[in-house]
């Protein structure tokens, strides 16, 4: 109940943030533009639309998660709005979980708008919608969940600028961990091998949430893979949230 109130208020806060609309407008524009670009090719039109569309949804959604996530806790402390919230019968972890879900609600809504745009464009160009597209969107959402928990973790102890840099690094490295592991295994030095496998196992592997290629080429994706990725995303995020709570619980709000 209290968590829901905080989540809904966070949602209100997010949707009144101008940065959200800038990103959303850009995303929808690019999805629309994909239809124009697709006319440049012959026979591959839907692939181009879906390829660009999903990429736009993914990148702009991640940007929303990062830019709203980094301020999630920091802003509350910086503006001292947290003082009166915590003077009410609310535990610190309830506050944090409320904030997290508030941002997730915002992201779901935006994801729905962007997906509707993509489906609309695909439909208007006369192609059949594949269920696989929605599976891809779902996994993109799981990636948002993970990115949001990373951003919130940094937001608990770091400034927005640093948090943005850290979270963005996580995002980039998260998509490269398999390559890092591969190069590490080819390396001569033992140190490089150990380091690359440490990075591989410690950092999230965000390629688990990427099935865009399968959608584009229409090949099937095993449901067990989707289940695995979902569990992976939930467990990894839960772990990050627990760490955030531990940090947040001990903090002095000076």
């Amino acid at each position: 109940m209290k968590i829901v109130a905080i989540a809904l208020n966070t949602f209100k806060e997010c949707i009144r943030d101008r940065i959200l609309y800038n990103l959303l407008i850009f995303a929808v524009l690019i999805i629309g533009l994909s239809a124009v670009l697709s006319t440049l090719t012959f026979g591959e039109q839907v692939r181009i639309i879906i390829n660009i569309g999903l990429a736009a949804i993914n990148i702009f959604g991640v940007m929303m998660a990062i830019f709203l996530g980094i301020g999630l806790v920091y802003k509350e402390i910086d503006r001292r709005t947290i003082y009166t919230i915590l003077s009410k019968p609310i535990k610190r972890y309830e506050f944090l979980i409320g904030k997290f879900f508030g941002l997730l609600i915002t992201l779901v809504l935006n994801l729905a708008v962007m997906t509707a745009g993509l489906v609309g464009v695909v439909y208007l160009t006369g192609w059949v919608i594949n269920v696989l597209l929605f599976k891809a969107v779902f996994l993109i959402f799981m990636e948002f969940v993970l990115i949001t928990s990373i951003a919130m973790l940094f937001s608990c102890f770091s400034t927005p600028t640093l948090s943005a840099i850290f979270t963005l690094s996580f995002y980039v490295i998260g998509h490269l961990t398999e390559d890092i592991k591969f190069f590490g295994s080819k390396a001569d030095s033992l140190f490089a091998k150990k380091l690359s496998s440490l990075i591989y196992y410690a950092l999230p592997n965000l390629e688990n949430f990427n099935i865009k290629g399968f959608v584009v080429y229409g090949s099937g994706v095993d449901n067990s893979f989707i289940l695995f990725s979902t569990l992976y995303g939930i467990l990894y995020s839960a772990m990050l949230i627990v760490i955030s709570i531990l940090i947040f619980q001990k903090r002095d709000f000076k």
Partner: protein, 305 residues
């Protein structure tokens, strides 16, 4: 209602973690139904104390209890209202929306919310401002909506951090009136301030905090000693010769147009002066005993090393 035992807070500041003691060994007790003024110059540790009580920062040493519950007990906050220093709230919310949100946090039943919020808004003088976004509020209005959120749960104990700072005289009087109204309702009020006249007007007891240590606690009469510093007499129609006669008794004479302001140190001397004025046909306008002010006391305490 509030009890602290050797409460201490040491902050680490800067890159090297230099230690700064903001509060040292605070022993304080605030009783039920009293208005307690927590005084001290800037940086004395008032806000640190209040933040520890509210669970916003953790004490380095010592303990504190609010209404019998140790720090960290969240349930006690249902019976507690808090206004921070220079409060700031979600500025994208409208006044009423904001109070609705806070009403949810204290689990106020839905059916009571509307009426309660309306009452509170009129109590703090924000009737009609409920539709306005908080970003459009003036400083005084923000302070008032802050008081409104603190009183939302009808708390037994209210903690205000500098409730009068930054307000104009009218705003300060309104805050004082709210505090006095709370006392009439039998609530306990603990507030910090450095605006001394306000304290003299409303507080039952005060504590003076200087450099993290409690210098003195007690009711104002007790602290000031209750003795009379001097007596000021105003009179008219006094000739030069009469004035000469009084001179040995009078400490200081100030002439203002027709009237004379005479400052006398001892009560007996004052009586004699009054006799002289009356027997010489002069007119006595006023006779006011001067007590040392809280301000003088405060300056003395704050200045001590």
């Amino acid at each position: 209602m509030i009890k602290t035992k050797s409460l201490t807070k040491v902050f680490k500041v800067g890159f090297r973690g230099r230690k700064v003691t903001a509060l040292e060994g605070l022993d304080l007790e605030v009783k039920k139904g009293e208005i307690f003024g927590f005084l001290g110059p800037n940086g004395a540790g008032k806000t640190t104390t209040i933040k520890i009580l509210m669970g916003l920062i953790y004490p380095t040493r010592g303990d504190a209890w609010i209404m019998g519950s140790p720090l960290g007990d969240v349930s006690v906050k249902r019976r507690l209202g808090f206004l921070p220093e220079n409060p700031y709230f979600y500025d994208y919310l409208k006044g009423e929306e904001f109070l609705h949100f806070y009403a949810q946090l204290i689990k106020m039943p839905k059916r009571d919310r509307k009426a309660k919020i309306k009452d509170i808004l009129s109590l703090v003088g924000l009737k009609g401002a409920g539709d306005l976004q908080l970003r459009r509020y003036s400083k005084g209005m923000t302070q008032r909506i802050g008081i409104a959120q603190a009183l939302l749960s009808d708390p037994e104990l209210v903690i205000f951090d500098e409730p009068m700072s930054g307000l104009d005289p009218v705003g300060r009087k309104e805050v004082r009136d709210v505090i006095l109204k709370l006392r009439d309702e039998g609530k306990t009020v603990f507030f910090s301030t450095h605006i001394l006249p306000d304290v003299e007007m409303v507080c039952d007891r005060v504590g003076i905090l200087v450099k993290g240590r409690l210098r003195s606690v007690g009711n104002i009469e007790e602290l000031l000693g209750g003795h009379i510093k001097s007596i000021e007499i105003t009179a008219r129609g006094i000739s030069e010769s009469v004035l000469k006669e009084m001179e040995p008794l009078v400490e200081r004479v100030i002439k203002r147009d027709e009237s004379l302001l005479l400052s006398v140190e001892k009560e007996e001397d004052a009586e004699k002066v009054v006799d002289i004025i009356q027997s010489s046909g002069g007119r006595l306008y006023s006779l006011i005993p001067q007590r040392p002010s809280l301000e003088e006391y405060f300056m003395k305490e704050a200045g001590k090393r």
